[in-house]
Structure formats: C-alpha cells, structure tokens
Symmetry: C2
Subunit: 256 residues, 2 copies
C-alpha cells in the first residue's frame, strides 16, 4: 500500500508521500513515491504514485526519456497542467497494457494511480488525480485535496486543515499528522516521508524528507496526544453532566 496526499491552499501546494513498498508482507522496502520534475524554469511538476512500483518506475523513465529526446510530447511541451495529466495517463496506460498479459497469468495487476500537481507558466497552480485508465479529475473547490492509496485513516485531518483555512506551514504539519495516523493504522504505509511545498508563482518548489525520529514529528505527535486527551476529558464531562444517556436508560431500569 501507499499513502500520498496533495493540498491546494490559498498560498500554494503541499505534497506528502510515504516511502514503504511491499510485495507481500515478507518483502518490504523503501522507495521514493514523490518526484519533482522541473523541465524548464517556468514549469514545475510534482508526481506522486500509488500502485505497481514497476509501472510507476517505467512511467518515470519514459517521462525522462521523452524530455531528453526532445519528443513531440513531453512535460517540456505541454501547455497546460491538464495536458500533462493526459500525457502521464497515456504513459501509465501504455506501460500497464504492455505487461498486462504476463502479469495476469500470475494474478497480478500492473496499474498505477498518480497525483500530478504544479504550475505551468501563468496558469494557477493545481493538483490533479490521474486514474489508471488515463483520465483525470481536479481537486474540488469545496475539498481542495487529493489522496491516493490508503486514504481513509487520515482523511479527517485534511478536512480539518481545509476547514480551518490554515497557512501553508500549519497545513504541512497537519498533513504530517494525517500521514502519522495512517502509518499507525496500516503497516504497509511507513516513513521516511517525502514532502514538497510549492508557493504560488515561485517556480521554486521546496522538497524535504522526514525520518520517523524527526524532532518536529515528535512534537506534533505529543501535541496531538495532548489535545486528544483534552477531547476525551470534555466528552467525559458531557457524558457525566448530560442527562440524555441516563434518560435513555432510566426507563429500562439501569442501575448506576
């Protein structure tokens, strides 16, 4: 499994990806799933991948080959982010199709899903999700984030960040929280975490990597635990003060 996310905020974009890969539980390894490609100064692409590691690697190799070969279509030639998404989708489909027959013989699936984000020229930065079938969707205005892989455990934190309209640093920290809760719940997601922060119109994406023993992660973990305990405390007061549960049960003779 994998967990990758991307947030589109007022100030810019935040990307975060885990690095754990596995072929069964007895073959666990660590690979980058977040890739930054800046083919010309005024275009920035961040690609996050989930699914077949072999397919994502061949797709990235083809992207680089197309860039090196001055191909008719490449990340250097597309004029819009959505064209980059369609290009990525085409490569992904081609690679998966090429290996489909051999993989299906062993019951394996060679498809991959991508998040593509960044900025092309004067267009506003954006984040798109590219399906294995080659089509794409943008993040919505109401929920301007995308997730691929194991998305359920960490979703509420991203919703919180969006609702609270936080700055990009806080959003990055909340994204790390989302990653940590997913890691805790699903063994197939794990550190180190690769991140990228992109400020609008900067064309200077900032990459970082965070190990599991990072002091910031530890502080964030502590803060979460403290706040969760406070939440439990308040819920405890509500449960003890509020007669609702009692009322519900009095009729049925609950002894307290």
């Amino acid at each position: 499994m994998t967990y990758c996310l991307a947030l589109r905020l007022h100030e810019g974009l935040v990307f975060l990806a885990d690095t754990r890969t596995n072929a069964g539980v007895d073959n666990v390894s660590s690979y980058r799933k977040l890739h930054l490609i800046q083919p010309t100064p005024e275009r920035v692409f961040v690609i996050e991948s989930a699914g077949s590691l072999a397919t994502t690697q061949e797709v990235l190799d083809r992207i680089k080959r197309d860039l090196g070969a001055d191909s008719n279509e490449s990340l250097a030639t597309v004029n819009h982010l959505f064209e980059a998404a369609l290009y990525l989708g085409r490569l992904s489909r081609e690679v998966a199709a090429q290996h489909r027959e051999a993989l299906s013989e062993v019951g394996a699936d060679g498809t991959a899903t991508f998040i593509l984000g960044g900025q092309v020229g004067v267009e506003p930065p954006d984040i798109l999700l590219v399906y294995p079938e080659g089509n794409y969707i943008r993040a919505s205005d109401e929920r301007p984030f995308l997730q691929i892989g194991e998305s359920k455990y960490g979703k509420f934190m991203l919703e919180m960040a969006i609702q609270a309209r936080v700055d990009i640093d806080t959003a990055t920290s909340i994204a790390l929280g989302s990653m940590m809760s997913t890691t805790r719940a699903n063994l197939s997601v794990g550190p180190p975490y690769d991140g990228c922060v992109y400020l609008n119109d900067s064309f200077g994406p900032i990459e970082f990597r965070m190990e599991s023993d990072s002091p910031l992660l530890e502080k964030l973990r502590d803060a979460w635990e403290r706040q969760m305990h406070a939440a439990v405390g308040e819920i405890k007061r509500i449960s003890q003060d509020d007669p609702t549960i009692d009322i519900l049960v009095i009729g049925q003779g609950r002894r307290r």
Copy 2:
C-alpha cells in the same frame, strides 16, 4: 455498507450500530443491525450484522425458530459464548450457501459478518467477531474492540477510548463520535444509531436509539470541533515556532 462496533471495557460492554442499508445508491433504507436476544434470564446476546441484509434477516429468523422449537442447538442451549459464535457461524454459512448459486448468477454475494457479544452465566462477558466462513475471533486484550463494515474512518477514536481507560459512559460517547466521523465520510453509513450498554453480571442490557438531531450528539459534535480547533491552534504554534521546517527549506532558498 454498515458500521457496527463493540467495546469490551472494565465495567462492561458497549455496542453501537448504524441503520442504513442500500442496494445501489438509488435504493436506500433503514433497518436495525443491532439485535438483543435474552433467551433465559442468565444469558444475554447482542448480535450486530454487516453484509447481506437478506442473509442476516434469515439468520435471525432461524435463531428465533430454533429458540421456539426447543431445538437441540440454540442460543438457549449453548454453554459458552464461543459456542454461540460457532452456532451463529453455522447458520450464516448455511443461509449463504443456500442462496449462493442464484446470487452468483447476478454477481451478488450473500455473505454476512457478525459481532456477537454478551454473557452466558458466570463466564466473563466478551465480544467475538464471526466471519462469513463460520469461524470466530475474540477482541484482543491490547485492543479490546471489534468493528465490522466501514471500520477505517472511526478506528482512531476507539483506540483513544481504550488508551485513555475511560468509564463506560465516556466510552459510549466516544463510540458515538466514532460513528459520527464514519457517517460524515461514508454516505452508506447513517443514523439513527442503535446502541446497547451491558454492565458486567447485570443481565440487564440497556438498549437505546439515537436520532441524528439528538441533543447529546449535537453537544458531542460541538466538543469535537472545539477540541479539533484547539489542536490546529497548537500545531500552528509548533509550526511557526519550530525551526525544523525552516531549516529544511533554507538551504533551498525558500522566501518567507
């Protein structure tokens, strides 16, 4: 989909189930998924179900028929909770097998998964998960809760309740929080919510139903939101005060 949970606490057991059922998105209805059966005064069974509604209803009908017919094996005859789990598992397999051929023709699956909890005589109360294959597992000592259906969104709250060693009322409120976050994330889980609280050795289980406009649910929702905002505030302070993110990006020329 469905979301049912059960917690085994020091004082007793807590059960909670949603009521939404659907056959496609255009056929949504509401059915009880939590069933209390007390065949004799010194035995209490709570059954929660996920999966095929038809199968769960027929299983419950057979349970009642066996009780009425003084059958050789029924919830009145089993001597241990695990025997009740095996009995339930056998009925579930039989019902699913009976309809398998017809269902498979339309690509449907008639299996069901159950949580069975309660107390039989002087044995300590417990909660068990019964698989569609008819075997069962108990909740572990480290994580004494079980979930069936859409379990991922609401898991962290149950872990929190267990870690904080809360009383049974607080645990019930936290379970309601777990249910509400699942409902918010998955349309196929919805109110009203059926609950049951069982105090050890009481043989007097307390059932309740909570509608979505319940004042307690509203209070709990408010408390959660307030605490989540406090958490965001603290994470914001950490992100602004802590130089880690800055240090990560200074080398790459981030303008702040």
